[in-house]
Amino acid sequence: MATLATVVVLGVLAVVVVTSPGWPRVKATFFDWSHARAAFPAVWKGFGKNVASFLIAEPLILLIGVLVAVVRSTTSAALFPLRLIAVVYTDLFRGVPTLLVVLLCGLGLPALELQGVPTDTFWLGTFALVLSYGAYVAEVFRAGIDSIHPSQVASATALGLSNGQAMRHVVLPQATRRVVPPLLNDFISLQKDTALLSSIFVFEAVFTAQDYGLYNFNYTPFVVVAVLFVALTVPLARFTDWLGRRMMRRERAGAR
């Protein structure tokens, strides 16, 4: 029954698209096999930059996220300036659209002409993604830290652990486990947002496809890029779902 329903729904959708008046033009511009083949090598090479940017950004984002979240959960008066910086950072970078962060970093930072600031927009763009996603991930970690019951800290304190040790050995490990599904969700989003580097002329997949389109008046490469992104994100998305379901089963099993 489920299969039948799926076939009918997809069939109807396909018929609507294929019989639409503009379909022949769309087909020629976006679904041309020869253009797909011609553009593929360049697009594939560009896609390597998306993956590289993602792989470099992810560990840095995790690091910043944990640091900022831990700083925000401290209470000591001496650390107030750090807490203030952490709050301003998260508020600022969660508020500014990621595209703007990328544009500002990519075009603004080199204009400062500071020693040691790279001029390669790939690095500047990746840095922008780290800034922007670091703020999101910090909030995810903070929610995880806040979700740990205060009795766990009381227990650690009673055993003589310092606040730092309680955070490191008791709170953070439990918090991290809880936030893995939302974290993976943010990382799926990050994979896609590497496409924003196209706005500062990095020859990643989208920019390469756009370049091809402008020279050849054919946008099939965009579809190729879309397929590549889907192929990259779907496995991670399924893994996230699976992990979330497993955790829910565990929590609901009561004794387990």
Binding site: S151, A154, T157, A158, L159, G160, Q165, R177
Partner: protein, 247 residues
Amino acid sequence: MSDTALLRTENVRKTYGDKVVLRDIDLVVQPHDVVCLIGSSGSGKSTLLRCLDLLEDIDDGSIWFEGQEISDPRVDARAVRRRMGVVFQAYNLFPHLSVLENLTLAPRKVHGVDSTAAEARARELLESFGLADKADEHPDRLSGGQQQRVAMARAIATDPALLLLDEVTAALDPELTGEVLEIMRHLAGEGTTMVLATHEMSFARDVATKVCFLHDGAILEQGTPAEIFESPREERTRQFLRRVLPT
């Protein structure tokens, strides 16, 4: 202080806003004492224990432990807590660590014991608490009674001078209460100094060296189990005992 008391409180007072939760608490605990705090819920038993471990600040009075005034704000609270063990009503085991790791965390990170020695000591304790086969399990696989026994083992793994127990059987079935009380009798028999808040009157009667009846934040009456249970001086104590003792 030159006397032999392990712990002494003088006029301890604790308030939450306008509410006075502890008043004029004078308590002396000698080495090897088993002091039972009894009284209705909300009488201040748990708060008193939390104040003794410096988990709560007191508003007035003083607490002396091992000859040092620990209520002095300049005292390093961590150094004091290293010498005390606490067991909570809800066990508060660390769910992400195995039973063995629960026991070795404080010895390794706080007391600087190397992990081989810490593990050996932990296994020895688990053995004597009848939990040798649970060392590598995670706490959520254990029954409530087993979890509470692990919590006891964790509290004494650091060889504290004083053990504070906060209604450790209150969350357990009568059936499981027995196995935890058994451990407490065992520890008392070994000479462990304990202060415990409890509703287990028969335990207090059999094992305590001193019983304190708390009412409305004050120790209304204290004495040997015989004095408190057989001939209570205060009418409030009599009322309380009538309610909790089987007739």
